[in-house]
């Protein structure tokens, strides 16, 4: 099973097992990673599952679609490697992917 590495804003690192086919957000929620909120439960409508994808991994996932891109624009801590983790599907290709979390999801 692939692993995703979440790094909290305070530096704390959590390696979580992530079922292929689920989203990175679901892996966070299912493993109680505190920095992901997911207020809309994965419908690309709340912007509270925001994560910074380590640049080494960014190219390994499909780019954000129109709906996600539009939501990303509204985030306060937007960075070039920002993504909504509910829109990233776990595959074996991203085993070990590193995701840094923002200070706040609001």
């Amino acid at each position: 099973m692939p692993t995703i590495v979440f790094i909290e804003h305070n530096g704390e690192k959590r390696e979580v097992p992530a079922e292929a086919g689920r989203s990175v957000m679901q892996a966070a929620v299912e493993n109680a990673v505190p920095g992901i909120v997911a207020d809309c439960s994965g419908s690309c409508s709340c912007g509270t599952c925001h994560g910074f994808i380590d640049p080494a991994w960014l190219a390994k996932i499909p780019p954000a679609g129109a709906a996600e891109s539009a939501m990303l624009e509204g985030l306060l801590e937007l960075q070039p490697n920002s993504r909504l983790t509910c829109q990233i599907t776990i595959t074996p290709d991203i085993d070990g992917m590193v995701v840094r979390l923002p200070k706040s999801q609001f």
Partner: protein, 419 residues
């Protein structure tokens, strides 16, 4: 209260968004006693919004809708029992009793029972047996058959012009069905938005080929002689032949368990800002609850996922010894065609409406003001502006109406947090 032995067993009745979030928040908050969740449906907690959107259109499978996998609950040490319908709460003995017999004791009880689709009450449906082509849409068991029956060319009559009705109309018209929406009130989405947004959506649906009838109450459902199949829907003005009927006429909160055991109930199970009911050992969260809004200074029963999650977290925080009042701004979303509608706040009582953007290009935001403060906003295809509006409404920010409609000028408000 701490994790003392007297409060060592937490039982949840319900297995939807609120229940799932509650159990996660409880464990994350450090509660280490037994946690049990009982749901009457046959499934683990799943996302409900996609039932009228991506699940209905076939884009998402049921497995993808699961909020947490079975393995996740096991890892958290949360016991989930599906297909378990609760019939009684015995507050004196502190236990719940099941339809199938048996009971479960509780130290603390959380009611996350949600709601059920309001049944149509019109002439022609007096029979106990519902016609097989009349559908409601609340559960996966409802949605599966609807999804299967959405075939091109069929005549679908949708009763109710609210979120469910309009979302199904979007999916069905794209699929090639002949769709008619009947709304009893003067406009679509009448309960949840103001006239301008209703008018916009009416136009959008008509452009997509959906027939919209407002001021149209259903007088009679006409079935075949066996009563098993609807053949037509009668309003005051017309008879609509139908192959398929979907009714989306509201939700009834599941408060019966609470009522029967003597909890205070009034348009939902009455709770305080910590989701605590009139019994100090019983909480109620999500669609079934009636809670105080600090922002609007009145009580609300909200049918929304963010509310379910927020109340769940408040209840969990209380049970983990760090009570935190739930005072989030209400917000909702609806996906129809290529339009993302995001709404924040409650617009009742507004005295001014200002539209910023281009409705004709399907990209705009409607601000609702009351005494110079922004109390609500509806954004269509403007997620960035919606997120900013959410922050403004959260502070009931004073907003400068002059120039607000002019997109070339920045939004001027009293809120310091908005960039």
């Amino acid at each position: 209260m701490r994790n003392g032995t007297h409060a060592s067993r937490i039982v949840v009745i319900g297995a939807g968004h609120a229940a799932s979030e509650f159990t996660g928040a409880l464990r994350a908050g450090g509660f280490s006693g037994p946690v049990l969740m009982f749901g009457e449906e046959a499934h683990l907690p799943y996302q409900r919004p996609p039932l009228s959107k991506a699940f209905l259109s076939g884009e998402s499978a049921l497995g993808a809708l699961e909020l947490k996998s079975a393995a996740a609950y096991e890892k958290m040490g949360v016991e989930v029992r599906t297909g378990a319908r609760v019939t009684t709460i015995d507050r004196r003995a502190r236990r719940i009793e099941f339809e199938h017999g048996g009971f479960a004791p509780y130290g603390k009880l959380v009611l996350a029972t949600g709601g059920r689709a309001r049944p149509l009450a019109v002439r022609g449906l007096e029979d106990a047996q519902k016609p097989s082509n009349l559908h409601y849409l609340r559960t996966v068991a409802d949605a599966g058959p609807v999804r299967e029956f959405l075939r091109p060319g069929l005549r679908l009559v949708i009763i109710g012009g609210g979120y469910v009705g309009l979302e199904v109309a979007s999916v069905a018209s794209k699929r090639g069905l002949e769709v008619t929406v009947l709304e009893a009130l003067p406009r679509l989405l009448a309960r949840v938005t103001a006239a301008e947004t209703s008018a916009f959506y009416e136009r959008i649906h008509r452009d997509a080929g959906v027939a919209i009838r407002t001021h149209a109450s259903v007088r009679r459902i006409e079935t075949d002689p066996t009563g098993n199949t609807v053949v037509a829907v009668h309003t005051e003005d017309e008879v609509l032949a139908a192959d398929l009927v979907l009714a989306g006429v509201g939700q009834i909160p599941n408060v019966e368990l609470a009522e029967r055991c003597g909890l205070v109930v009034g348009d939902g199970i009455v709770v305080d800002e910590h989701s605590l009911s009139s019994d100090p050992d019983i909480f109620a969260i999500g669609d079934c609850s009636n809670h105080p809004s600090a922002l609007y200074r009145r009580r609300l029963r909200l049918e929304s996922v963010p509310n379910a999650l927020g109340q769940a977290r408040a209840a969990a925080a209380t049970l983990c010894g760090s009570p935190r009042a739930y005072d989030a701004v209400p917000w909702f979303w609806s996906d129809q065609y290529d339009l993302k509608l995001q709404m924040v706040g409650l617009s009742h009582g507004h005295d001014r409406v200002i539209i910023r953007g281009r409705p004709e290009e399907r990209s705009f935001i409607t601000y609702y003001l009351q005494a110079g403060r922004i109390i609500a906003a509806d954004a269509v295809n403007r997620p960035k502006v919606f997120l900013a509006a959410k922050r403004l409404v959260g502070e009931l920010a004073q907003i400068t109406p002059e120039g607000l409609a002019d997109e070339s000028r920045p939004v001027q408000s009293s809120a310091p947090t908005v960039n």
